[in-house]
């Protein structure tokens, strides 16, 4: 949970600091018959667009003010990591709700753009791990396009084993490194 709050805060900080134009227009709240509350979000949303999919996994709507569900720590959309088993690019069931939420968000926000970064643990060929990380990223992309996200909205890239999040050399570190990161443009 701490990690999510830190990630959300960091993303908010970045949004405030960026000087480049982003791929998403800064938009007022879209009225799609639902609106969200964003407790604690606060920061300006010039980077990421608003509205669209409701901010909870169950799809419940809440009356309230405008805000960015991507950075709502209460929203599954602020969760951005999918983890994998050794040698595998199969998406485990526990991550389906997360992927579905992001897939639907992209489907409902045609201007939103995402990069999926695939990673592996440190074992084995560097180039084969680039390919394995790519398979992990593509697996998640495939699920999202089945939910209506457009092909052009998602780029999949691989870091292979080159950028481990955990520098350790044990099973726990390896498990943390076998991971896709979902990164929205402008973050």
């Amino acid at each position: 949970m701490n990690r999510i709050i830190v990630a959300a805060a960091f993303a908010a900080l970045l949004a405030g600091c960026q000087s480049q134009p982003t791929t998403q227009p800064a938009a007022p709240v879209e009225d799609r018959g639902a609106s969200q509350t964003t407790p604690g979000a606060g920061a300006s949303t010039s980077g990421a667009g608003t509205g669209g999919v409701a901010g909870t996994a169950q799809g419940a709507t809440r009356p309230g003010t405008s805000g960015n569900p991507l950075r709502d720590p209460a929203s599954v959309l602020s969760k951005r990591a999918v983890f994998f088993d050794f040698d595998s690019f199969v998406v485990r069931d526990e991550f389906r709700p997360l992927i579905e939420a992001h897939g639907r968000y992209l489907a409902g926000n045609r201007n939103a753009r995402m990069t999926i970064q695939g990673n592996t643990d440190e074992r084995g060929s560097r180039e084969y791990n680039i390919a394995l990380g790519q398979k992990r990223a593509d697996a998640v992309k495939r699920m999202m396009t089945l939910l209506g996200a457009q092909e052009a909205q998602i780029e999949t890239v691989s870091f292979g084993k080159e950028k481990p999040k955990n520098a350790g050399h044990d099973e726990a570190a390896w498990a943390e490194n076998r991971r896709d990161d979902l990164v929205y443009a402008g973050e």
């Binding site: 060929s125 180039e127 890239v157």
Partner: protein, 429 residues
């Protein structure tokens, strides 16, 4: 043990002297850690006059020959007078010290910065001179001259081409910074050719030694660059949507094979060396990567999981004639064809161990060369006799070398640096 230490010190000292502007942190020291079996005992007598120069040629020649694992330096002290020409060599003296061959020479300043360097190789068993050459060089050429002499001696006594005049490339990581470094094959004179804040991998020498292809993540995705070593100019030859990686040069240096995901999934493509003329080699049901051209330039080896697990295949460059090459085990990757085209070095996983192996195409026999547990990125010397590779020990990457018959092993260490992705450069033209 003192011999090992002295040799390591010699390398480090020589490397330090070689270039005052080379970053000291990236220098390599090379130690032989596994016995080579039958080494030729050779006496390399200090050259007459070399004490008058900051760099002695005979020391580099001796280090080169010993590092090949095929030679053992015989003690040369206490022979008076010290011979410097073939005719001065008393074969009985050297036979008594068990030497099979003797190298003598001289370094004589000629004025205006030029030096006369000459050597002779004498057969201590049958008597007689086997080789001799005279060079006129400047001090800046001493290292190159020593390596040439070592190449000549090696060729004369083993019948094989020497690789002492080649260069190597590798990636060095220090904290958050990555450097692509080019150095002499003995680790001397390291030059940083690229420095980034993001990882790099897969450096690959063009066959003429003028360019390096490599993969960099500096744009937050893998992109293939080709960089000219003389000018430092580089081109992003593959920066398509998705990941671009695994460059491999055709033997004529005109074509690159690369792995692109732009059409969905990792697949093999060919392109001109400047990035134009991109064409897909084949459409495969799996993930294809790690292409490696065979020496005739008409087919390539590659890694594919089309059969359910990563294995090595061969195909024509038109994508036809696909043939599976590895059948044992569930993970066989990183094919590196031998210079004579008759086999390949690769990485296999056995249980938990990732280790190097060598396979003969004709006999289909595999020999395991290293123990692992995390060996990767083999690179074969252009004479096919030695293989550079990387592994990780206690969280730090180091380079190693193993002879193609598995008998001789070296450890190559850069102090305070994490080193990976070695690439052995071509023979000089």
């Amino acid at each position: 043990m003192t011999r090992l230490l002295r040799r390591s010190f010699l390398f480090a000292l020589a490397a330090a002297l070689a270039s005052p502007f080379a970053p000291a942190r990236a220098q390599l020291t090379i130690e032989i850690v596994g016995g080579a079996g039958t080494a030729i005992p050779i006496a390399i007598v200090p050259f007459d006059g070399e004490g008058g120069f900051p760099l002695g040629i005979s020391g580099i020649v001796a280090a080169d020959l010993e590092r090949s694992g095929l030679f053992r330096a015989v003690d040369t002290s206490g022979v008076v007078p010290r011979p410097s020409r073939a005719e001065d060599v008393r074969v009985d003296v050297w036979r008594a010290r068990s030497a099979d061959a003797v190298v003598v020479g001289s370094m004589l300043p000629l004025g205006e910065g030029r030096v006369d360097v000459r050597y002779a190789l004498v057969d201590a068993v049958r008597g007689g001179m086997l080789a001799s050459t005279r060079y006129v060089v400047t001090a800046a050429q001493f290292r190159a001259t020593a390596h040439k002499i070592a190449d000549e001696i090696y060729a004369k006594l083993t019948g094989d081409v020497g690789v002492f005049s080649t260069r190597i490339a590798y990636i060095a990581k220090q904290g958050p910074r990555y450097q692509l470094v080019v150095a002499d094959a003995d680790g001397a004179d390291p030059q940083t050719i690229v420095s980034t804040d993001e990882p790099m991998l897969s450096p690959r020498w063009s066959p003429d030694g003028t360019r390096l292809a490599y993969v960099s993540l500096e744009q937050r995705k893998p992109i293939v660059y080709v960089q000219n070593l003389a000018t430092g100019a580089r081109t992003a030859v593959a920066a398509f949507r998705g990941s671009n990686s695994s460059p491999a040069w055709s033997p004529d240096g005109r074509t690159l094979a690369v792995t692109l995901t732009r059409d969905g999934g990792s697949q093999l493509f060919l392109m001109n060396a400047d990035g134009t003329g991109v064409r897909r080699i084949m459409t495969s049901p799996g993930t294809d990567t790690e292409a490696c051209f065979l020496p005739d330039g008409r087919s390539l080896l590659f890694t594919s999981d089309r059969g359910g697990s990563p294995q090595i295949y061969r195909a024509g460059i038109d994508g036809g004639g696909v043939e599976r090459i590895t059948f044992e085990g569930s993970y066989n990757v990183s094919p590196r064809v031998l210079p004579d085209g008759k086999g390949m070095v690769y990485v296999r996983r056995d249980g938990n161990r990732y280790q190097l192996a060598i396979l003969d195409f004709a006999t289909r026999q595999t020999q395991v060369l290293t123990a692992g547990p995390l060996d990767e990125s083999p690179s074969v010397a252009p004479n096919g006799k030695l293989i550079l590779y990387a592994n990780e020990t206690q969280g730090r990457g180091i380079l190693n070398a193993v002879s193609a018959d598995g008998r001789m092993k070296q450890r190559i260490v850069a102090p305070a640096t994490d080193v990976r992705e070695p690439a052995w450069g071509p023979l000089p033209r």
